[in-house]
Symmetry: C3
Subunit: 140 residues, 3 copies
Amino acid sequence: MKHLRKTLTFNTDSRRAFINITRDVEEAVKKSGVENGMVLVNAMHISASVFINDNESGLHEDFETFLEKVAPEKPHDQYMHNRGTMEDNADAHIKRQIMGREVVVAITDGALDFGPWEQIFYGEFDGKRSKRVLIKVIGE
Amino acid sequence: MKHLRKTLTFNTDSRRAFINITRDVEEAVKKSGVENGMVLVNAMHISASVFINDNESGLHEDFETFLEKVAPEKPHDQYMHNRGTMEDNADAHIKRQIMGREVVVAITDGALDFGPWEQIFYGEFDGKRSKRVLIKVIGE
Amino acid sequence: MKHLRKTLTFNTDSRRAFINITRDVEEAVKKSGVENGMVLVNAMHISASVFINDNESGLHEDFETFLEKVAPEKPHDQYMHNRGTMEDNADAHIKRQIMGREVVVAITDGALDFGPWEQIFYGEFDGKRSKRVLIKVIGE
């Protein structure tokens, strides 16, 4: 069994952001030499997501609107987490839970086995600091 | 390491539908000859889900009601995606995100290692056209 | 390829609860002897979750409040599932869907390849009875 581990680091200018990381995952899979297997891609921080959806700016605005509707950032003191820790990111923990921590993608013939529109995104919900994504490839 | 790849194709009569695909996944696992490993089952389209829950029609109606409450289809122009693309499926992208893109199931002794009520479903949120699900088995 | 299967059993005193199972997963990975691979951890019941987030009681209260807001337990008869089956746990099926069934974690150098705050939780949404979690390790 072959395997490869790689991390990506992000430090976004804004509190919330969506970043397309498909090319980074493709490169890791190619470098691994795995022809058939799986690649796990996950946020290593608990206020961020990795998810697969469309690469379309309007859609990312819709995600933002939806997430703010169901788990609004403010007022910060509506959350026990914020009251107890003096942090302000309880909403980010919930938003990440809705959007998901990780994706697992099949590798076939040495490439991501994707449908026509699938793209991998890093979803940042509490940015402006250094955070990492883990890529782990296994297979043969 | 053994591996098997298979796709399923769906073309639902309605915009939204839930289809039990447990038997299809079981057959793929059996055909793979894998005794211990994992099977990944994912929607290959970004307005559909694969998830595991109960095989009960009342529950599927409850999922529909819940999803329409938090991410309603209409009015279509409430979503930037719909305004920008002349599509009408922004809600489907969000619903799929809530229900999830994929499941990973353990294979033990050549079969899906399931609890008593676990069943695998394809969740369609923008149907009436041909869409695919990927099954990827790895193990030994 | 090495592999290991283990189940954990829970019987919570309350209907809803969050239980840290990180140590149990770490022990299973160590026992497996796998140096590089993946571990799948999933609820075997369809009204419970396994997820990764922060180990902080305030946050767990925030999850509870958020889940009750979007998929309230009562009134029980608001759900078709409850009306059709004489059960009262439709909300638990929905809550589990939001929080997720499973996590897949990378194994590197024989340990969980985790960021600084990642902890694995069992999320119970319909407890007071015996329910299981599956741990499946594969790799080399």
